[in-house]
């Protein structure tokens, strides 16, 4: 399977088929597609609620309860399962060994899905700790810790029994994901339980806020960035059939990225009463973060040197190029927004939402789609059911992202400027908050359109994969027409 993927591969001796556990990869892949569609559907619903309040249905489906469901579903269910799909698939191949323990893999899978289901039940019921991306109540936090430990043992066990000596760069990034998320999750979740469903954090006030944004920013850094860079380092060279551009660049940008990221949390608390030294540290380290981020982007894009002709025709490469470009864009925008004066305008506004989704839809989403379109036909040894649907998905998603982010940037700038506008008499030019909200409506509507296009693309992908996979059962006897 491995050896035929490219002419330069010397990875596996011909004729030896390593005994990899691909079943677990298929399980995580299936969960990815289902939760991805659910999470994005909830995204479209909350987008709709901000334009039509009537879409708030009863206590359980009102905006304040559904928004955390959206973020948890897309981050932990969609992005999380994508990472596990890619990690379980690529690390076995990179380390030339089966996963350490199949039972641990299953516990990881089912435990994680159970956590997601319990999130989907508790959040609409209003059970929440309110910290962004760490809303889940304490018993679920305990479960996350346990499942993560299982994943960690399985991960490091596999590393320990590897059949190659050196760790490929993708593995470095995966490792930073496993370690850092454990540290962040545990320290941000420390709390005193009051009941089974409620607890109070051991930190208070701005200390609590700082710990939360140390967690929150690094959830972005180590859940939505480093594992995806790992996926980029494995799947982009695979799909492009080119070696990674620079090994040295990957060393520098890896260490700089993991070291600098941790400091940047306070950029979420600029102009708050957080001590000045902390705000300054957050701002300075955020600005420095542009360097290692762009190092990663350049290493990705330059890997495509000599393969640009294929980028024009291959949806997999197209998606990956768009993903890496959006990564570059949002990691340019992020440091800009960390500059105090700029943040003064952007904070609290839809601009932040535009930034979030250029990273989330552009980088995380497109990287995931690109990887899956490459992986699924190889995993199931079948041609993709409708390649032209993948092409359509690419365009729907790309146009959807553009509509979404442009609408949010416009809305964000507008409200930021109108909130602060002061007239000649020294009074607020727009004293009534709701007047400004009303002017945002066209942009919020445009976001619904862009978001829906993105969702439709994802659903088309789901159907496409469903048909592809089903086909593989029907034609189980047929020799694979796709060379992996």
């Amino acid at each position: 399977m491995e050896s035929s993927s490219s002419s330069v591969s010397t990875a596996t001796p011909v004729g030896v088929t390593p005994d990899y556990d691909d079943r677990i990869v298929k399980m995580f892949f299936t969960a990815t597609v289902i939760w991805g569609i659910v999470g994005m559907l909830v995204g479209v619903i909350i987008a709709l609620q901000l334009t039509f309040w009537q879409a708030n249905l009863g206590p359980w489906l009102s905006f304040g309860r559904l928004r955390p469901l959206h973020t948890n579903a897309v981050i932990f269910a969609f992005a999380g399962n994508v990472c596990f799909t890619g990690i379980y698939h690529s690390m076995q191949r990179l380390l030339k060994t089966r996963m350490f323990n199949d039972t641990l893999s299953r516990i990881h899978f089912w435990g994680w899905q159970l956590i997601i289901v319990s999130a989907a039940v508790t959040l609409p019921l209003g059970m929440t700790q309110s910290k962004e991306y760490a809303e889940l109540i304490w018993p679920i936090d305990v479960a996350i810790t346990l499942v993560w430990v299982v994943f960690g043992i399985n991960f490091f066990g596999t590393v320990a029994r590897r059949k190659v000596q050196h760790l490929y760069v993708a593995i470095w990034f995966y490792m930073s994901f496993v370690i850092t998320i454990a540290v962040l999750h545990i320290f941000n979740s420390l709390a005193i339980p009051a009941t089974l469903f409620r607890s109070y954090p051991i930190y208070t006030g701005l200390t609590d806020a700082l710990v939360q944004w140390w967690y929150g920013h690094n959830a972005v850094g180590f859940f939505l960035t480093t594992p995806f860079l790992g996926l980029m380092y494995y799947y982009l060279p695979r799909a492009a059939e080119r070696p990674v551009y620079s090994y040295r660049l990957s060393i520098i940008h890896f260490w700089a990225l993991v070291f600098l990221y941790i400091w940047a949390g306070p950029h979420h608390l600029l102009f708050s009463a957080l001590p000045d030294w902390a705000q300054t540290l957050g701002m300075v380290f955020s600005i420095m973060l542009i360097a290692p981020s762009w190092g990663g982007m350049l290493n990705g894009l330059l890997t495509l040197r000599g393969a640009w002709d294929r980028v024009r025709t291959d949806p997999v490469l197209k998606m990956m190029v768009v993903a890496v470009s959006f990564y570059g864009m949002s990691t340019f925008e992020g440091p800009m927004m960390s500059i105090r004066a700029v943040n003064g305008l952007a904070h609290y506004t839809n601009w932040v939402i535009g930034h979030v989704h250029s990273g989330a839809l552009g980088w995380v989403g497109m990287m995931s789609f690109g990887m899956l379109y490459w992986l699924v036909p190889r995993l199931y040894k079948r041609e993709l059911w409708k390649p032209q649907w993948a092409e359509a998905h690419f365009w729907l998603a790309t146009i959807g992202i553009v509509l979404y982010t442009v609408a949010m940037w416009a809305a964000g700038l507008m409200e930021g400027l109108q909130w602060r506008a002061i007239n000649d008499a020294g009074q607020l030019a727009n004293p009534i908050f709701l007047d400004i909200t009303a002017r945002l409506q066209p942009f919020l509507l445009l976001r619904v359109v862009g978001g829906s296009m993105y969702l439709v693309g994802a659903i088309m992908m789901g159907i496409n994969f469903w048909k592809t996979v089903r086909g593989s059962d029907e034609a189980a006897q047929t020799p694979a027409s796709v060379t992996a």
Partner: protein, 265 residues
């Protein structure tokens, strides 16, 4: 293929070092990564617990009463913080719109913090005392009755659903464990406190023609909202009068803000 590229490019000294020491020994790599990701967090979080480097403190702040704790828990349950911030920034327009900028010590008993990161609705840090109780009662039931065109969801179930005293007691006990000073943590004490404070709100509502009881969710919610920012404003005013004789001119922004806060009502 991809892996092999690492062989090709080990010309540099650090490349060779990295390859031999780190990539070859997974334990060393994992430890190095752990160290790299720990430094920033430790350097930023530990000083927060020191008196001189951490957030500014004030002894004058009091913890939320049991009824306010119940209201705060409802604020969390409904995700009000997804639309409302509680952090007024020291900027002219914000002082005009919302009042005094937020001080660190105002959050002394905010567990969890509720600063928020979005303003789909106005900041609520200084909303206490801005409207009468009956306004909140009607606004929660139907925001558009008072603010036509509002996108805030209605919370009409709060008018009928009840707060369990046992539940609030559990919260007070946990908060006491965390160090919040309360005069009691028995169910009787919590009930008495809630009845006393809730009774005042019920009386206010009654005089405006709204019938309810002290244990409804709406009463707890109103208690919490009416408390927001009030104590902070009082403490700031005391500080201002204490220092006024010496330096009247120095209270530039604060004084202007205190007035602006009133003017917005």
């Amino acid at each position: 293929m991809t892996e092999n590229n690492q062989h090709e490019e080990q010309g540099s000294a650090y490349g060779r070092f990295h390859r031999r020491v780190l990539e070859g020994k997974a334990v060393v790599f994992a430890v190095a990564t752990t160290v790299a990701i720990s430094i920033g967090g430790l350097a930023e979080i530990i000083p927060m617990f020191s008196a001189s480097l951490g957030p500014e403190r004030s002894e004058a702040v009091t913890p939320y009463t049991p009824l306010e704790v119940a209201g705060r828990d409802l604020y969390i349950r409904e995700g009000c913080y997804t639309c409302h911030s509680q952090m007024v920034r020291p900027m002219r327009a914000e002082l005009l719109r919302y009042g005094e900028w937020s001080r660190a010590w105002e959050y002394t008993y905010d567990r969890p913090f509720l600063l928020g990161s979005r303003r789909l609705g106005p900041d609520l840090q200084r909303v206490g005392g801005k409207y009468p109780d009956a306004w909140h009662y009607d606004h929660m039931e139907d925001p558009r009755a008072l603010s036509p065109g509002s996108i805030m969801p209605a919370y009409d179930w709060m008018l009928t659903d009840r707060v369990e005293v046992a539940d609030v007691t559990a919260s007070i006990r946990a908060l006491s464990t965390a160090g919040h000073p309360y005069d009691g943590d028995s169910e009787e004490w919590v009930r008495a406190e809630m009845e006393r404070q809730g009774g005042e709100i019920v009386a206010n509502l009654q005089s405006a023609g709204r019938e309810t009881t002290w244990d409804t969710e709406i009463v707890a919610m109103i208690a919490y909202l009416q408390r927001l920012g009030v104590e902070g404003r009082q403490i700031l005013q005391q500080q201002a009068t204490a220092s006024a004789p010496e330096a009247e001119a120095s209270s530039t922004e604060s004084a202007a803000a205190a007035q602006a806060g009133g003017g917005d009502r």
